[in-house]
Symmetry: C2
Subunit: 311 residues, 2 copies
């Protein structure tokens, strides 16, 4: 190994060190909040910092009653310490200290013609050397607009393709499978990408994985603000809002019944208010609701299925 | 055994036969719906009958936009057949055919000063002879009124005391433990009674258990209509309604995260619309909401804990 290689390796070790990763995530949180405040034009994020008893803590940033966002959260956390018993059990791990850091976002827009969005990027490390990256972005339009769905997936595909030809098809399928509500037999929205347990492997370094995760994080604000801003200027009716609230009900169902992250957070004694910031400001349930045949609502429902090639 | 004893035993065997039990439950559903329609004075229950692919079915009865009830369901079902794999797994049972019947109720009143109520009475039997009764009633006031809480618990205690001195203290504690939201560290409401796996034992016959379960079922309508009617005439404000919606949010959290019955139903491929009829018409979430010190809302929160002796 020549000295340049050694330097590169050293530099890689530094940039993928857990404290570097968490620092970068914290910066991402700020960057995204700034971009969202600009797009919103009215409300500002409130900041809530918290400490975790066993080690670490986080910053929850919440925006409410904006021009664009009715309720949204952009959370950063970096927690560590002795692994809780329940965590080891759920993750099937041997006892060791853990370190987990990441950024988690859910935005519920006011205008029903603007989609709900979720993003998560995270890094997990155990004191025995085990580590991985995970994350995903998925879009939940109350009304699916094919052009937006295509733009959304195309943008994610571009981020993926820069890193590996398998990423988009693989992570797109994982999103279809993950963001699915079995008891409704429908997907949460139009999916996106989902990945977990990304570590180094033949031909892919930890640095490569980290570069990918960072690009996913950086892609979030431009993609969402473009789709959101475009649709936020459209007029909407009370009927649209009623449908939005029913769809938010489904979002609640997915998050509380099916989302592994939420379940994991609640079961391992995570900070409830930060975990449940994903819930909408207002959600409705109506017994056996069925949209009218041929309506926009019915068209959206028909598209809530796995395996649609949006690109 | 003399002939009178034989006759009594024969009669007991008949009245506690699964088809007799399910028939009685179906009658209870009708009786309760009639009483609730009378108390409501405006809306009527809609009826939805359904068949289960593997055997049996049910009747879901739903009332919406009433004078008293904004959204409520009174469900009856009697399902049977080969035990689904997931059911055996969850219940830790050996493969055998099952039979399950019961009545399940959740009522969300319009007036925030009227409490949400839930009742369930059920019977479960396996083809290997194993059987048990289960059920419970619990009250979730948006605003706790001590006088009502006392009346509610006193009424349940009277039903219990007629059957066994241990029932009320035992089942009241079980309700405190069951209707509890760990991630919020609060009870769902003021509890009530909860029981499960009731079978014959030294000094208690199957008929005794069944008599108890029937009295619980019959107690529901008079207890609730008394408390509901009294409070439904009270005027309420938008502030009360806002608080009601936040409390309904907690109800959603309990039902989707913690309620074993809901989880069991969804995981064993039950009828989703009937299982989720328990969800409110409209629920809100607000990040880190805290009621004002000394307010009625704060007083209610302070009473959402286990172990309060309401009688």
């Amino acid at each position: 190994m020549n000295s340049l290689d050694t330097l590169t390796q050293l530099s890689d070790e530094l940039t993928t060190h857990k404290t570097q990763i968490s620092t970068w995530f914290q910066g991402l949180q700020t960057q995204i909040c700034t971009a969202l405040e600009k797009a919103d034009g009215k409300s500002k994020f409130q900041t809530d910092t918290w400490q975790r008893e066993g080690g670490g803590g986080g910053t929850s940033r919440v925006i409410e009653n904006g021009n664009l966002i009715e309720k949204g959260g952009v959370n950063f956390s970096a927690v560590f310490g002795e692994s809780p018993e329940r965590m080891l059990q759920l993750m099937k791990l041997e006892p060791a200290d853990f370190f987990a850091t990441g950024v988690s976002i859910v935005l519920h827009p006011k205008n029903p013609l603007v989609p709900i969005i979720h993003m998560n990027v995270r890094y997990f490390e155990m004191s025995n050397g085990m580590y991985w990256f995970g994350g995903g972005i998925d879009l939940t339009p109350h009304y699916i607009v094919e052009e937006d769905a295509k733009l959304f997936h195309q943008s994610l595909k571009e981020v993926c393709d820069k890193h590996h030809a398998d990423y988009y098809p693989d992570f797109k399928k994982k999103a279809d499978d993950y963001f699915f509500i079995p008891h409704r037999n429908e997907t949460r929205g139009i999916g996106g990408i989902f990945f977990d347990h990304l570590k180094e492997q033949e031909g892919i370094t930890k640095q490569d994985r980290w570069n990918f995760v960072r690009e996913v994080g950086e892609a979030f604000a431009p993609i969402y603000t473009e789709i959101a801003t475009k649709n936020n200027s459209l007029p909407f009716t009370e009927e649209h809002t009623q449908w939005q609230r029913l769809r938010r009900g489904r979002y609640v169902e997915f998050n509380l019944v099916n989302d592994r992250g939420t379940k994991f957070g609640l079961e391992t004694n995570g900070r409830t208010e930060s975990i449940l910031m994903s819930l909408p400001p207002e959600a409705n349930w109506q017994y056996a609701h069925q949209p009218k045949e041929g309506s926009e609502e019915a068209k959206t429902l028909a598209l809530l299925k796995k395996g649609i090639d949006w690109v």
